[in-house]
């Protein structure tokens, strides 16, 4: 039993790595269709990664060893963070090791190395991107933690598996706090994964870019790892949102039929979320960087209202 659980946990971790480019491809495809373009094929993101792994890796003369190490640290930290989030089944051993605060910490570690690597070579773009990334992160992290604490207060546990379990056990309950926490997490996810109101993932060589500016000096397999880590981060936030707020379908027993259902459910939910993201990116325009603090203040306010709503409306005397 224990060995099967570990095998499943490893399979789930591999699934994160394998599915991440597909989600990005899907979002790009829907976005292209909305703009009346045919768009690249769904598997284009895999082909890009394959191409980058085959290319020669060039490193600037001024780069320190940190510049070479950063892609591996960023990729592994993001991947470890993803492992703790239930994708197919609850109660897997990886979820028991790490709770949501560890996930936030691992993402912060990845971001720290990303920003250091951006500044390492000493180009103007890298430093600018790093400073902007840290500005966004400093505002997004408190909002994310608040939203997560709202969930934790409802479930009396910071472990994501228990949160999902408690939500499933309670059945359909309309909770004001979950509504606000969902809003806050959606805004934070947009900011943290560099999607459109905050950063434009499709742009290069403009003064507005944040994530692209930091990885401008990378090439070859380093660049592939950085891109892949960003894709895993998007999948991580997507799974976090769909599986915590709409957990129905996730497997609670480790039986093949349940796992198959869990896989189908999470794929359908992610496809829907990806389509919503693409529609959002089509109708919204990128905001000025100086508006981003106001955007993230809204996320913090929503998270705070979620906490207060939980205390005032849900606990009772």
């Amino acid at each position: 039993m224990n060995a099967t659980a570990w095998l499943l946990a490893i399979a789930q971790a591999l699934l994160y790595v394998a599915l991440a480019p597909l989600l990005v491809g899907w979002v790009r495809k829907v976005k292209a269709r909305l703009q009346n373009r045919r768009g690249p094929p769904l598997l284009q993101a895999y082909r890009d990664l394959y191409k980058l792994f085959g290319k020669e890796t060039r490193v600037a003369h001024t780069a320190s060893p940190l510049f070479r190490a950063a892609p591996y640290v960023v990729f592994i930290a993001t991947w470890l963070a993803a492992m703790a989030i239930p994708l197919l089944a609850v109660d897997l051993p990886t979820a028991a090791i790490a709770d949501i605060i560890v996930v936030v910490g691992l993402l912060a570690l990845a971001r720290f190395f990303l920003a250091l690597a951006g500044m390492d070579v000493g180009t103007a773009f890298g430093g600018m991107g790093a400073s902007r990334e840290m500005l966004i992160a400093a505002l997004a992290e408190p909002a994310m933690l608040m939203a997560v604490f709202t969930l934790a207060m409802t479930a009396h546990s910071t472990n994501l598996s228990s949160v999902v379990d408690a939500h499933l056990a309670a059945g359909l309950v309309l909770r004001p706090s979950y509504l606000f926490a969902l809003g806050a997490l959606l805004l934070v996810a947009l900011a943290e994964t560099g999607r459109i109101p905050v950063d434009n993932p499709a742009t290069h060589l403009e003064l507005t870019m944040v994530h692209e500016a930091m990885i401008l000096e990378y090439s070859g397999r380093h660049l592939a790892l950085m891109e892949w880590a960003a894709q895993i981060k998007l999948l991580l936030y997507g799974v976090l949102i769909v599986n915590v707020f709409l957990p129905w379908g996730i497997a609670r027993e480790l039986l093949p039929a349940d796992l198959g259902l869990g896989f189908a459910a999470v794929v359908v939910k992610l496809l829907l979320l990806g389509a919503v993201l693409a529609v959002g990116e089509t109708v919204l325009a990128k905001m000025r960087l100086f508006r981003v603090p106001a955007f993230l203040n809204l996320a913090l306010l929503l998270a705070l209202l979620g906490l207060l709503g939980h205390v005032i409306l849900e606990v009772g005397a």
Partner: protein, 228 residues
């Protein structure tokens, strides 16, 4: 009594009340007048919806009437009148920025906590399933007051005043199952008359000081160097 023990309809009332509180924050921080009027209309519609759901959940048919009255007045008529006023005063594109938006919003959060603390002894009395909403409605009233203090623009202050009335109405519905019909009609009529009077006052204020920034009303002298 935690939320999981309540029937689904009563949970819906709590969710609607929470969203009413959120629209209060939107009103407080919204810089564009027209958007603020839209937020106020949404708040009225949500208050009406909460009243209607209380009527269904608590089997109180007279609340249907209150809900319909609130919806017509707060979500349709008054926002429409404000829209017309704003259009006639040529304030459609007016932006009224708060001086320290983050601080004001944090003050409003503090007010929510304060009103929860105030209501705590009352919650222990075990009134009805709606008693938790009393804290929310008190917070809506206080945030309306805060809005009247921090906004300089007369139309925005009127919006704060009207949202206070929304909070009072929500408190009446949640604490006592609605006011008697006569009182309710009287209040509704009062709000309508207040709205008409505000409209007249806007024009008076603008005629006398050429702006709707009511901070200018603090100055008593008419000397030129004081004007700017």
């Amino acid at each position: 009594m935690s939320i999981t023990t309540l029937p689904l309809l009563q949970q819906l009332v709590l969710v609607l009340a929470a969203i009413v509180l959120f629209t209060s924050f939107v009103l407080l921080a919204q810089a564009r007048l027209v958007s603020a009027i839209h937020a106020f209309a949404w708040q009225g519609a949500l208050t009406a919806a909460a009243t209607a759901v209380v009527a269904v959940a608590g089997h109180e048919p007279h609340l249907y009437f209150s809900a319909a009255l609130t919806f017509l007045l707060k979500a349709l008529l008054i926002p429409w009148m404000l829209h017309r006023l704003v259009a006639r005063l040529a304030l459609d594109r007016h932006v009224d920025l708060l001086r320290h938006p983050a601080l004001v919003v944090m003050a409003a959060v503090a007010l929510v906590i304060f009103s929860y603390w105030l209501v705590l002894p009352m919650v222990r009395l075990e009134l009805a399933f709606t008693r938790n909403i009393v804290a929310i409605s008190l917070a809506v009233v206080l945030i309306g007051l805060l809005m009247m203090v921090f906004r300089q623009q007369a139309v925005a202050q009127v919006l704060g005043f009207m949202s206070m009335e929304n909070g009072l109405f929500l408190a009446a519905v949640s604490a006592t199952g609605g006011m008697p019909l006569v009182v309710e009609l009287g209040v509704a009529f009062d709000v309508l008359v207040a709205m008409v009077l505000f409209g007249v006052f806007f024009f008076q204020i603008r005629d006398s000081i050429d702006t709707l920034d009511v901070d200018r009303l603090n100055r008593l002298t008419e000397s030129l160097e004081d004007e700017r």
